[in-house]
Amino acid sequence: MKLLVFLEHHEGAVTKAALGVLAKARALGEAAGVVAGADVRGAAESVGGPVYLADDERLAAPLPGPRVDVLAKLVRDEGFDAVLFAQSVLAADVAAGLAARLGAGLNWDLADLVEQDGALVGKRPALADSVWVDAGWSSPVALALFRSGAFDPAAAEGGSEVREVAVELEPHSLLAELVEAASDEGEGGPSIEDADVIVAGGRGLGSPDNFALVEELASALGGAVAATRAVVDAGWYPYATQVGQTGKTVSPKLYVAVGISGAIQHKVGMQGSGLIVAINKDPHAPIFEYADLGVVGDLHEIVPRLTELVRSRQ
């Protein structure tokens, strides 16, 4: 089985989610990654294993059209059985375009992929994550989009075997151009999707000023700050930091939930985290049903002391 993984990159580094998908692909068969962009050799070299490199000025903007050309050519020339993507706005666009170009089936929102009797079968949670749906492909080439945080990235093993590919673009793929790039991410610190440690604050903080407690703990742990829908709704913290069903899905190694009750709308955005620590004064808060470590008590006392302890050990 030959699998190709689309390696999305930001500021010279391949995203954690894409590396997770690559690790999954390696477990399933003969896997290679593809990095498409301008001046991205560094990103390709950092991955390890076989990586196709499409390095061209016309791939500088994060637009789907030219990337569909690169992937379609690779699939045709190299005979890949499947192309795998980690969910993102760009990846969804590229996957949809590639599906149309190749006449290939695309299954999305997958949380796992297995091989059964020589065929790939995608696993998709449905009905509020209460059942698993098996999704197969009837097309010769299988395209799959995975939920963010579905797999753990593997550490790079040795250097990459970089294979440069000639970039040949269709005229219609160059019709779209990037007019303006803007970012609404908060300043400083890792973005919550890439962070290994997240400290998240909820309505239990009591007031926006108390987010300082969360920020200090995050800073001590070298992590990012996230927020619940309720506090984002109340204007305490920016929307870009919202974790949950209608915000971002994250899977850090450590997730510290401060003053968060943990309704299912929040849970589905962070349940893939490695270790979940909850600090809440309400012992009946739903978050204690799925936290690995729960602390029942006043966050105003606990969090500053925790921050102090972490700092004193560094």
Partner: protein, 575 residues
Amino acid sequence: MRPSDYPPPWRPEEAITTPSESEPVEVDVLVVGAGPAGLAAAIRLGQVAPELSVAVVEKGKRPGAHLLSGAVLRPGPLRELVGEDVPSYGEVPGEGVYFLTESRSLRIPTPPTMRNHGNVVVSLSELGRWLAEKAEAGGAMLLPETDAQRLLVEDGRVIGVRTGDKGRGRGGEELGRFEPGSELRARVTILCEGTGGHLTGAALAHFGLAGASPQVWALGVKEVWRVPRPLRRVIHTMGWPLRAGARYREFGGSFIYPMGDELVSIGLVVGLDYRDVDLSVHDLLQELKTHPLVLGLLEGGDRVAWGAKTIPEGGFVALPRAFHAPGLLLCGDGVGLVNVPALKGIHYAVESGRLAAEAAARGELDGYDSALRESFVWNDLRAVRNMRQGFAGGFWRGSISAGLATVTRGRVPSADRPTERDADQDLIRTGRASSYPPPDGRLTFDKLSSVYLSGNRTRDDQPNHIRVQTDVPRALAEMWARMCPAQVYEVEPVEPGEGGRSEGEGARRPEMDGEAVGAEGEPGWGTEGEPGGSDGERVKLVVTASNCVQCGAITAKGGRLTPPEGGSGPEYSLT
């Protein structure tokens, strides 16, 4: 204190506008709402006037996404329309009506109005998806994720609708993905918006069509369960957990229907003329499931769907004076074509949609009114016109007058009895919430996990679509917080509590601070069971609009629901 003392910051005229676009989309007939009425209209137009272009706009993610009913359907009118059997879970195999007390159930004879022989059990959401395919096959163009935001009126004639913008931010600003709404113009616009219809209400006001008596509503909350043992009959219950006393005005009951061998639909419907601040239909449904009769049916099963919707209950006396205006026809639940004693309305929606389509095809809109008045719809509703109102006097008096009306086929009482607006009922407090069972995640559930199960994943950063006063007396704010099955409303905590467990926790009343009940001159504020010292205190209402499942209860009870961005709200599939 009455909810209507705090009217919403909204006027019907806000939903009426004049055309402004130079290149609008034009069709012959525009249908608003892909429910049983709208889809029946579209299907009928394809049959009798295939040359006409027909568009159906639907605010839900797809047809059926906002459809919810019990539902036992009288299948005749729909079978006749589509010329084949309709997808269902089979004929009603048998039925039982029970009067419940807290721990017992007494089987009572089935009232004649509630007999269901020959009727079939359906999921209205599934039926809507099927009808949408029929309508498309017949040539109609379906436009899901499209909200009809304003009625286009020019020179006293309706010429279509303006659809809502998409991609606006919390404050109305244009986000990166902003898409302006567009004008859809048509020779005839058929409003089939369902309960509490946004444009229907505005049109009734604009054209002076409102009936003699105001519309009233009930709120129904239902769940679908996968059960280990099949249920072989449909069950209706009256009595507990509702209270019979006249001062409570708790009119309603439950339904429990088999959907094949594996699924059971269970719901509770309560009239929104209720008075108790603490009343929560969602929590009463959770309480109902703990009754031995119900527990025996569900034990060992899993909840697979949840949803909520209002039902127009005004009946005959609340119908509009006329069902058409220049360029406009009105159908279905939007104008209140519901038979409350029979618990039926889908087949009336279908029939009204069919008749509207025929009038639209002929180009004689006033013919729709006479056709509707000559149809079975009119006779049915006329015969039961006074039954619902009788229950304002409590369960027992209501039952007696309903019995009299039934045996005399509506001749007693002879005069029409008017309805009273739901929002005009004085509020009382009785400590009712203390008996609601805590959610255990197996049999009983909280509101937020229920909203999640409805498939609702509405974008949070869109403008608030709910018009309601947010600086109101505590009692009113708490009434809304309890009423809403989707936890849209919360009372801002005086001392912000930890953890944000607001339902039943954050909305706790502070200690009596000595402020008198009538401090603000609130008339008629009654208290029972609990000291009411702080009920008149002003509090801030927090509105989480993205939880909204668009049931419409707020419109009945002092606020106003308007359509959010198209594609928002629940994504029902089995309800």
